[in-house]
Amino acid sequence: MLVGRAVEYSLIAYGLLFGISLGVAVMIKIIYWVVHKSGKTKPNEGKEA
């Protein structure tokens, strides 16, 4: 019984992990698009705080 619940939990957790991983990939693509579209972001030239 407990093992069955553990299998169910693991499958849910794996599904969630895949979903969030794809979400992170989408986020990276959006950031890439925004940064390149705006064309304003330039590499910091090494100024310290």
Partner: protein, 408 residues
């Protein structure tokens, strides 16, 4: 008073029960072995030498304190650390007596040591390849969490509690700080042996994974050349923006993992903002200071009374199973990606999703190079390798945040 009583450690070595004495001797030998393997660079010397010395010293240096009441039995202990103390008055006594007690209570018990290591890792991690190839990196890293997922029900079937099972399953993520963080949060009673098992196994990845690769992937596929011109150049601005946004979003989704996300991404942000003083601080004193005290304190925690628990044998087997399954998951992911990729793709990149930065990426490159000396896959492998740090922190956060509620 006999002559031998001048040498208290030797005199008392066999005064307790024989099982404890035998385990103490075996642990001292284990400590010597870890020191030797660290010195020979077979295992990671940064961790194994301080850890081995800690194990030797704590098991050799057992004292028998005189009890206040003459009729009471003498109390065994060391002057290193007493991890099982929870009573505040007792704790105050040990904080003034055991020299590693402040390190344990103020950096281990609250997960600070894991966060310090994560800050350092963030400051030395190059996320270029993750940003350049996000789909491949994140999907392969998720595939390489197979051991983290599959070990949980197996551990439950072996008789561990759900929280203990989730803690040992995290070994499959091959990320030491996450194992420490997760086990402290979920199952502090197994934190010490589990952390030692995890770090020893992580050191063994470099030696063990090549056999797994050779067993599962044909030589022709191991030597596939990949086109390095396919990797775009990534600006600091993109990497910095990703670190800030990812930190906010993941902390919002998983508040319980926010300390880990904040620690990792602050390191990345500092690196990409090129704040050199902070980069030097995090990648030098913070990272290596934390790693030193992590190894030394873990070694000092591994005393005979902690290890003499039947759960430890299960942890040894399940930890290895978790890492094995994660490696297999990563390779399966690599094979599937190769099948659907339009360009030549080396499936060994998949095993780099096991987030032992940068060990597994180097293992993938080493095995590819052995099959074809013109096969350069390291830049591609670094993508899933870094993504693996993020996916392991995510799955750790899911476990810590939900495992208790799900099994109510």
């Amino acid at each position: 008073m006999s002559f031998w009583q001048f040498f208290e450690g030797l005199h008392t070595l066999f005064t307790g029960d024989w099982d404890t004495s035998l385990v103490r001797v075996l642990l001292i030998l284990l400590g010597f072995l870890l020191i030797y393997l660290g010195y020979r660079q077979t295992l990671e010397p940064l961790l194994m030498i301080p850890m081995g010395i800690g194990i030797v010293a704590v098991n050799a240096g057992v004292l028998y304190f005189l009890a206040k009441d003459a009729s009471a039995a003498k109390e065994a202990g060391t002057l290193f650390v007493a991890p099982l103390i929870s009573d505040p008055i007792q704790l105050m006594k040990y904080l003034q007596m055991d020299f590693l007690q402040p390190i344990y209570n103020f950096t281990f018990s609250n997960g600070l040591i894991a966060c310090l290591v994560f800050m350092g890792i963030g400051a030395i991690t190059d996320i270029d390849y993750l940003i350049a190839k996000p789909w491949m990196s994140m999907i392969l890293a998720a595939c390489a969490e197979l051991g983290t997922i599959a070990t949980l029900p197996i551990a439950v079937a072996c008789g561990l509690t759900v929280k203990e099972a989730a803690s040992v399953a995290l070994v499959g993520g091959a990320d030491g700080p996450v194992v420490i963080f997760g086990s402290i949060m979920m199952a502090p009673q197994i934190f010490v042996p589990l952390s030692v098992v995890a770090y020893v196994y992580l050191s063994l990845c470099y030696a063990g994974y090549p056999y797994l690769i050779k067993g599962l992937v044909p030589k022709a596929k191991r030597g596939i050349k990949m086109d390095l011109k396919d990797i775009p150049t990534i600006s600091s601005g993109e990497k910095f923006a990703f670190a800030v946004v990812a930190c906010g979003v993941l902390s919002l989704l998983f508040p319980v993992g926010a300390p880990l996300f904040a620690s990792f991404f602050v390191g990345v942000a500092v690196k990409e903002a090129r704040i050199n003083r902070y980069i030097e601080l995090l990648s030098g004193p913070v990272l290596y200071g934390a790693t030193f005290f992590l190894g030394f304190t873990l070694g000092a925690l591994l005393s005979a009374d902690i290890i003499m628990d039947s759960t430890v044998v299960k942890l040894l087997g399940l930890g290895m199973l978790a890492l094995l399954l994660s490696g297999i998951g990563g390779l399966i992911g690599g094979m599937i990606w190769m099948k659907f990729s339009k360009k030549p793709f080396n499936p060994l990149v998949g095993i780099a999703g096991v987030s032992c930065v940068p060990t597994t990426a180097k293992v993938a490159q080493k095995c590819a190079f052995e099959s074809n000396k013109f096969s350069m896959i390291l830049p591609y492998a670094m993508g899933p390798n870094v993504a693996g740090v993020i996916t392991t922190a995510i799955i750790g956060s899911i476990y810590v945040g939900t495992v208790a509620d799900f099994f109510k």
